[in-house]
Symmetry: C2
Subunit: 313 residues, 2 copies
């Protein structure tokens, strides 16, 4: 059994994880929320307020990662389900986890069909969706090219996992990854968020996409629909910089260390967004985003100009 | 006084320095050679053979760096100056050092004229020529953007030196540098070699040049003519990869660490090559390259397919 205070603290602590992918962090948040639910009474009149607090903590943990914003939205939707909040949340959480697992498998299956035999794939940064897809496509892969992923070195994690599956890996410095597009048959990346006209991923992805276009190599974004960020939530979406100390702990005075983690990349011709529902065009993405329900409380919160007291934004 | 054996060993040791710029390493090689000269007798009949050995050691130390190949060429030209080898070498070495210093100053003066007031410059990797130019242009600089420079972190060295001169510095990860071109007024890089149709610099430079072109930002290559590599020496020029262990010491089995340091970048429209003789067009570069004398021994060595026994190539 987890108290409200504990759960808020644990959700906040997820913000310090800068190596895991967006989907993984959202899965951990869902598990924390399920643990919270176990100790609650359905008829507790305080429950909607508690859920609103949990929704805000989830919203604030990693404001660049859409799955967390979507999870926060689900919690708040449950809080707004008069008298049935706990039941609604349990159902939403169970649904969330099941959907995620099925989505990852469906994307992996679809991705494998796009691979030529003995393919050399190039990937950047860490995405659990991409790793699952590469694992499933193992028999068609000759080699995967990946870069270090400064400052967190999450590219080494990718390299290690792939090597354990006996997939050949070439690891290069981040600055050399674009040049390696030439040697690859295709480029595949994950996403932290999918918006109406762009997607969000680690800084450097845009460069890679441009390089792939210039060299006419297929470019895939693998993202399940939990990454889709409806306009009503987009106002909470922040591409904030991480602490500079992660990059250079003892930087001399006069040196500003700018540790930007994310960037927004426009959907461009030749780029394929692969979801559990197949490849979606930007128009189809927009149609889906418009249909997604958004909790009543969010627009009011945005007008108030404040979502929480953690000071992280 | 330094023996032949010592000097060959010391020249070889320069190959392990992967943080200093090409011009700096060549300066150190010239100093080692001057020390060797001090202990020699002009009439020693062995001298030409000794100089050939020194030329080969210089050629092999950093085969991507043109100043070292040019220095090796000068040593070999001296060895081929019948009966006057020592005098010829002393003159060539003294000339080399003087030319280098004057060239760096001339380039710095010319570069400063290209800078707008309160300019934000972006640079990549470490170049002593670029550092000297930025130092001389201090009063016109608002800020310099630089990246870490994995794996050697030579970008931190640049940041530190600039900060000491009270020039504002922003340091980002290598993958974010291209994106920062937007925030800069101009991009400036050094070069390890200048060839007939391309120049050589750290991997990642080509990407930066493409980004600068796309955003219509001026792009400068600062390189004195000691970086110019005549066709007769180009056969010794190698863009070999550095040891993978520098990138990831305990990489798991199955992961090939490809630590490429250099790449060749074509001269393109909108790119300015600034030398001590002013901005040169590719046609002017080619004309100069054709005029540079090359020692008689090199073509023979190349036919033999071997330049030394150090096993580095």
């Amino acid at each position: 059994m987890a108290t409200l205070r504990q759960t808020v603290a644990e959700l906040g602590a997820l913000g310090a994880d800068r190596r895991s992918g967006a989907a993984e962090i959202a899965d951990r948040a869902a598990a924390l929320l399920e643990a919270f639910c176990r100790g609650q009474r359905a008829r507790d009149p305080q429950l909607p307020y508690a859920l609103s607090a949990l929704a805000e903590a989830t919203l604030a943990a990693h404001p660049a990662m859409a799955p967390l914003l979507n999870l926060a939205n689900r919690i708040q939707l449950a809080a707004e389900a008069d008298g049935r909040a706990l039941l609604a949340l349990r159902r939403l959480l169970a649904g969330y986890r099941r959907e995620r697992q099925q989505a990852a498998k469906a994307i992996a299956r679809r991705f494998a069909r796009h691979l030529p035999r003995r393919a050399t794939a190039l990937t950047y940064s860490y995405s659990s969706t991409v790793l699952a897809a590469l694992a499933a496509a193992r028999s068609r892969l000759a080699r995967v090219i990946v870069s270090e992923g400064r400052p967190g070195y999450e590219g080494r994690v990718v390299a290690e996992r792939l090597a354990r599956m006996r997939i050949g890996v070439t690891l290069v410095i981040d600055a050399a990854l674009s040049e390696q597009v030439e040697a690859a048959d295709l480029v595949v990346v994950g996403a932290d968020a999918v918006l109406a006209r762009a997607y969000v991923n680690k800084v450097g992805t845009r460069q890679l996409q441009e390089q792939a276009r210039a060299r006419r190599k297929p470019f895939y974004i693998l993202a399940d629909t939990s990454k889709f960020l409806p306009a009503g939530l987009a106002g909470f979406h922040r591409l904030e910089a991480a602490p500079g100390g992660e990059l250079w702990r003892d930087a001399p005075a006069g040196v500003v260390v700018l540790n930007r983690s994310f960037e927004s990349i426009p959907f461009e011709r030749g780029v394929t967004l692969l979801t559990e529902r197949g490849a979606l065009t930007p128009a189809e993405v927009r149609a889906r985003l418009e249909r997604q329900p958004v909790a009543r409380r969010w627009p009011r919160l945005r007008q108030g100009g404040q979502t929480n007291g953690s000071g992280r934004r």
